[in-house]
């Protein structure tokens, strides 16, 4: 890798030993991918993935302390992934004991470290930092040092920013140095599609199921998706962005997708069209039967496969404001249709703290409350990651949550029926 004089001096220790280690980490990271240079991070804010103060991850706290003691604050303010605990979410005595006295005992300590390093504000805990209400929304072409797979794939694909699938800890190092290695999704070549996905379903596919199918097929490659304009249109309106948020999260968690293009819709596909497709691109055709196959192969790891669900999560990744309003309408209408007043399964809708604040200012908040649905800023994944919650029959329409936990996946339509009409 060819470094500028300034970068080389930092690597040699001109700004101290710890800063030299930060630079060494970034240089080695780049060299593993053949990067020839470091380029400046140009976004206003960063986004970091490791938001949870788990007792066991002391190596992370030690590293953060090393950065703080060396005076290495992040060059950018940053948002974080969601907090792991929220008292609004149903939990029994034992679960609360595990959350607060065993698992996340370092949460306050860690948030103190993050504040010193450059946390945007106390509300900046969400996986959807790009929502207008949150304010960390990069512009097309900006170079990021983000982590969080669902945010990275959204920033690359829907916003047209440039970011690799960085890991936790690497994310903040790019911010501290102000540079990231130039490779992969930062380059024009790395943003070309190596898969063509032809969607030939008879109706609009469930976003998280379609994303899962594509993720599992293409893994970390870039898909160019055709056949979606009839369902999403050709403008990135609120509905299309919400769909792509959930679709992208599934591609990134069920596979390792960092960028996708949607024909005639996402910015680069609109601008460059099929010239984005590599000459030797493989083809994956998705029809109703293929989606059914993918869904039928999800393992159900509940001890009792016929158990009555004890909890339902909607909002992994966090919901948008419009999504919360739309779900409120749907839940109300479906309850009315079934002659029920409240949801039959305890249900939690999750969104960014700033989105929840905005939602609570609308008339929808009271209406949703009447249905019995709870709202929270929690990370459902962090809630599920313990033996007590893990053994609970939890249902979700999030394919990301399904992948990382024992939660059972149903499509959005199925979830609506289960929570409003069936209760099982």
């Amino acid at each position: 890798m060819i470094l500028t004089d300034e970068q080389q001096a930092i690597l040699n220790g001109s700004k101290g030993e710890t800063m030299a280690k930060v630079m060494k980490t970034l240089v080695m990271y780049g060299e593993a991918f053949g990067a020839e240079k470091l380029v400046p991070v140009t976004s206003k804010y960063n986004h970091l993935v490791t938001s949870f103060g788990l007792k066991m991850i002391t190596p992370v706290y030690k590293l953060m302390d090393e950065l703080i003691e060396a005076g290495l604050m992040s060059g950018q303010k940053f948002s974080m992934d969601p907090r792991p605990v929220d008292k609004n979410v149903p939990a029994n005595f034992l679960q609360n004991l595990i959350f607060n006295k065993i698992m996340y005992t370092k949460q306050d300590f860690y948030e103190g470290q993050l504040a010193k390093l450059g946390l945007m504000d106390k509300n900046a805990f969400t996986c959807t930092c790009y929502m207008d209400e949150v304010g960390n929304k990069p512009n097309k072409g900006e170079v990021l040092s983000w982590a969080e797979s669902s945010a990275v794939v959204y920033a690359n694909s829907v916003l047209g920013a440039r970011c690799n699938r960085n890991s936790g800890i690497i994310d903040i190092m790019g911010s501290i140095a102000g540079y990231v290695p130039y490779f992969g999704l930062l380059t024009d070549e790395g943003r070309c599609a190596t898969w063509i996905v032809e969607v030939k379903t008879t109706k609009k596919p469930d976003a998280q199921l379609l994303g899962s199918a594509i993720g599992m097929k293409v893994m970390e490659e870039v898909p160019y998706v055709k056949g979606m304009n009839q369902y999403l249109g050709t403008e990135l309106d609120d509905a299309a962005c919400t769909y792509l948020k959930d679709f992208g999260a599934a591609t990134a968690s069920n596979g390792a997708v960092g960028l996708y293009h949607i024909e005639n819709l996402t910015p680069e596909a609109k601008e460059l069209g099929e010239s984005l497709i590599s000459p030797d691109a493989k083809v994956y055709i998705i029809d109703d039967k293929e989606l059914e196959r993918v869904k039928s192969e999800y393992p159900v790891v509940w001890k009792n496969k016929d158990a009555k669900p004890k909890l339902c999560f909607v909002g992994c990744p966090h919901m948008s404001l419009q999504q919360m309003k739309d779900w409120t309408d749907k839940v109300e209408a479906s309850l009315k249709e079934a002659g029920n007043k409240k949801v039959l399964v305890p249900t939690v809708f999750t969104a960014a703290p700033d989105v929840l604040e905005a939602f609570n200012k609308t008339e929808y908040a009271q209406r949703l409350k009447k249905t019995g649905v709870i709202t929270s800023y929690i990370c459902p994944l962090m809630y599920m990651n313990n033996p007590l919650c893990g053994s609970m029959p939890v249902i979700t329409c999030s394919n990301k949550l399904r992948t990382y936990s024992t939660a059972r996946f149903y499509s959005e339509d199925e979830i609506l029926v289960k929570i409003t009409k069936e209760g099982k």
Binding site: M28, V49, V60
Partner: protein, 147 residues
């Protein structure tokens, strides 16, 4: 015995029993028990990985195409190394992915005395040939002996 040659990401030598996954290793899902609940044997907790689920990863020669899933992946590998819960080595048939590379490099730069050789680009033939329980010898120059 068959020999394969890859690219050295983290140098070192070791001899260990092979543990093989043909699908991507979901790092966060796989190391959850080890990192959150102190499982000292690093039992794979990824229910979606039939090759590895419920098997001990500690001190095994982990043979895989790549890692997938959450971008906490590198942090997870870093923590596993710091807590001495890591595999004996990680051997990738594909070029290494950004999350596994990050974890390997973080451990190499920020921790002392970590010995987890990492070799990538071993090719599909490597992953087709190696079977669980075979003995793996990792040489300093990225040569892998499968016995």
């Amino acid at each position: 015995m068959k020999t394969f040659k890859g690219r050295v990401i983290a140098p070192g030598t070791c001899e260990a029993e092979a543990l093989v996954t043909h699908g991507g290793l979901n790092t966060l899902a796989s190391f959850q028990k080890a990192l959150q609940f102190g499982d000292k044997m690093t039992t794979c907790s990824d229910q979606n990985n039939p090759d590895l689920y419920g098997k001990q990863m500690l001190n095994k020669a982990l043979c895989l195409p790549q890692t997938i899933g959450s971008t906490t992946g590198g942090m997870v590998i870093y923590c596993a190394c710091a807590m001495e819960r890591q595999p004996a080595c990680m051997l990738f048939s594909n070029p290494i992915d950004s999350l596994a590379a990050a974890g390997t490099i973080l451990a190499s730069v920020w921790l002392d005395n970590v010995n987890m050789p990492v070799v990538d680009s071993l090719g599909d033939e490597f992953l087709n040939y190696v079977k669980e329980g075979m003995t793996i010898k990792v040489k300093e120059d990225g040569v892998i002996e499968v016995i």
